[in-house]
Amino acid sequence: MDLNEIKKLADLMSEMALTEIELEEGGTRIKLRKEILLPSKERGSISVPSTHMEHEIVTAIETKTEGGRYALIRSPIVGTFYKAASPDADPYVEIGDIVKKGQILCIVEAMKLMNEIESDVDGKIVEICVEDGTAVEYGKPLFRIEPS
């Protein structure tokens, strides 16, 4: 089993709103569990290596679980993440906010164009996965939403 397959399992969990998945294949067994992320929780200093994918997996495996289910809003483009429309504006969303499908969550700026990123689910923001002003690649998780 390689990282790609583990990532696929993690994605499957998100898509199907599962909290736990266990797979046994050819002598290898793996269990993935989801966590509820509370704002104050320490997630440990997992340094992000060259691919976003590894960060994702480590988070899924290492932290304790308490049940919960998420949708991940991923960046559809390459660019720079901004949580607000401008430096002195309020952020589009904060952790704990209830959002609706189609609601603007953030901006990803690419080549001087501001792209508004919308939620594709109704739910509650449980995590903002990137820091304001950081570069994001295609597929990078931006928000974790607990669907309602």
């Binding site: 990282l3 060259s50 976003h52 483009i77 390459v78 690419a110 080549m111 570069a135 690649e137 295609y138």
Partner: protein
């Protein structure tokens, strides 16, 4: 010199460019689709950015995402490799506007040479022999029939916006012309979005001879000899060699001179290849110019001793070419076998996981590849997984070396064209250097199967 270059490609060529950058002390940014996250070029680059899903249109040809990746990583230049956006003049323009150096020719040269009919016209005006044919696009069936009658059958109908051997139709008789014309136009529209076609004389047993050129931004141009790429299947090259077994010094000088004329006619800068057709009497005719580094560039590197990708980067950085034409010495003989993840008999793609892998080695053996043990060959991209290149003092020695190298090249878990290469390198006609572009099709139909 650039501090950081983004490589807008994947697989073996992306790794090739990364190696050249590394040797020049340049930082590298790899871009990749989600399907290529575990690729070698991603692993060996200094940084990587995922730019889209597996579909190449949304990833490796996604101009906004690629430019954005250059922006967020601070890359000063982009090397486009071959395929994908390498000959996309719009991409070259957009890079220019964004202040990012496109490592290749200027957009105008790409457009000019990308329009096959315009390229022909340009060469004709410069007195470079071109294949007898229509002057540019044929307007209608009537014109097509007139041209065909004038140059004499058989003729070949080709797509103006085409390349890579697609959108072509051979017509042997007047009666077949109308139908073939329609079919070619439809195919061209489907494959390239442009139904424009032109007509050329069709030669029965030609050789495909191409000349490598290098031009710096100060107007200095040189050529690095020719490559014989006649071993093709459906216009896709499979085996290439340099020098050509039928090109002598005099012909080489003439081909080189014609290639350099083509370069000056198109105000060309950086690396490029001028393709010619050689007929049975050794007359040559311009076919097209490829405005990029080519798959088969390694064989020219082996015989000339010049690193073409490093030269591309140096030229793009504004450096002058260090060599004069008189200093270019071609030594020995080199072959390249393109190893594809395909069924060697049916040529259907064979994606999958590589379960066993061993590469040949020893003096004069080079492998350019993006695959590795336990790596996955995906179905999304072209099937080239490795290039096996040999270099030796003579053609016969190079053939023996390639045979040995092929026998040591082990790939299991997927099917490859290795068995086919082994057979060709044991074929008497091939060994004698007696072949044309029809060789492989005839060879394949006469083979006793199975190959493996």
């Amino acid at each position: 010199m650039f501090k950081k270059i983004l490589i807008a490609n994947r697989g073996e060529i992306a790794l090739r460019v990364i190696r050249a950058c590394r040797e020049l002390g340049i930082q590298t940014v790899a871009i990749h689709s989600e399907a290529d996250a575990a690729s070698l070029h991603v692993r060996f680059a200094d940084e990587s950015v995922c730019i889209g899903p597996p579909d190449a249109t949304l990833s490796y040809r996604n101009i906004p995402n690629i430019l954005s990746a250059a922006e967020i990583t601070g890359a000063e230049a982009i090397h486009p490799g071959y395929g994908f956006l390498a000959e996309n003049s719009h991409f070259a323009e957009v890079c220019e506007s964004a202040g990012i150096k496109f490592i290749g020719p200027f957009p105008e040269s790409i457009s000019l040479m990308g329009d096959k009919a315009k390229a022909r016209e340009t060469m004709m005006r410069k007195g470079i022999p071109v294949i007898p044919g229509s002057e540019g696009k044929v307007a209608n069936e009537k014109e097509a029939a007139e041209v065909a009658k004038k140059i004499g059958y058989p003729v070949i109908i080709k797509a103006v916006a085409g390349g890579g051997g697609r959108g072509m139709r051979v017509v042997h008789r007047q009666e077949e012309l109308a139908k073939s014309l329609q079919a070619a136009q439809m195919e061209a529209k489907g494959a390239f979005g442009d139904d424009g076609v032109y007509i050329e004389k069709y030669f029965m047993d030609p050789r495909h001879i191409e000349v490598q050129v290098l031009a710096d931004e100060k107007g200095k141009v040189i050529h690095l000899g020719e490559r014989d790429c006649s071993i093709q299947r459906r216009h896709q090259k499979l085996i290439e060699e340099s020098p050509s077994p039928v090109v002598d010094d005099r012909l080489r000088r003439e081909l080189g001179a014609a290639a350099l004329e083509a370069v000056s006619a198109s105000h060309y800068v950086n690396a490029g290849t001028v393709e010619f057709l050689l007929d049975k009497d050794h007359n040559f005719y311009f076919i097209e110019m490829n405005t990029r580094i080519q798959v088969e560039h390694p064989i020219t590197e082996m015989v000339s001793g010049i690193d073409l990708v490093k030269e591309q980067i140096k030229i793009a950085a504004g450096r002058s070419l260090e060599f004069k034409q008189s200093q270019i010495k071609l030594r020995g003989h080199s072959f390249e076998c393109r190893i594809n993840a395909e069924d060697p008999e049916k040529f259907t793609p064979s994606p999958g996981t590589i379960t066993s892998f061993h590469l040949p080695g020893g003096p004069g053996i080079r492998v350019d590849s993006g695959i590795y043990l336990n790596g996955v060959v995906t179905p999304y991209y072209d099937s080239l997984i490795a290039k096996l290149i040999v270099h030796a003092g003579t053609r016969d020695e190079a053939i023996a070396k390639m045979r040995g190298a092929l026998s040591e090249f082990i790939v299991e878990g997927i099917k490859t064209t290795l068995p086919l290469h082994k057979r060709v390198f044991n074929d008497p006609a091939f060994i004698k250097g007696r072949f044309s572009t029809n060789f492989l099709e005839r060879f394949l139909s006469s083979l006793s199967l199975p190959l493996q």
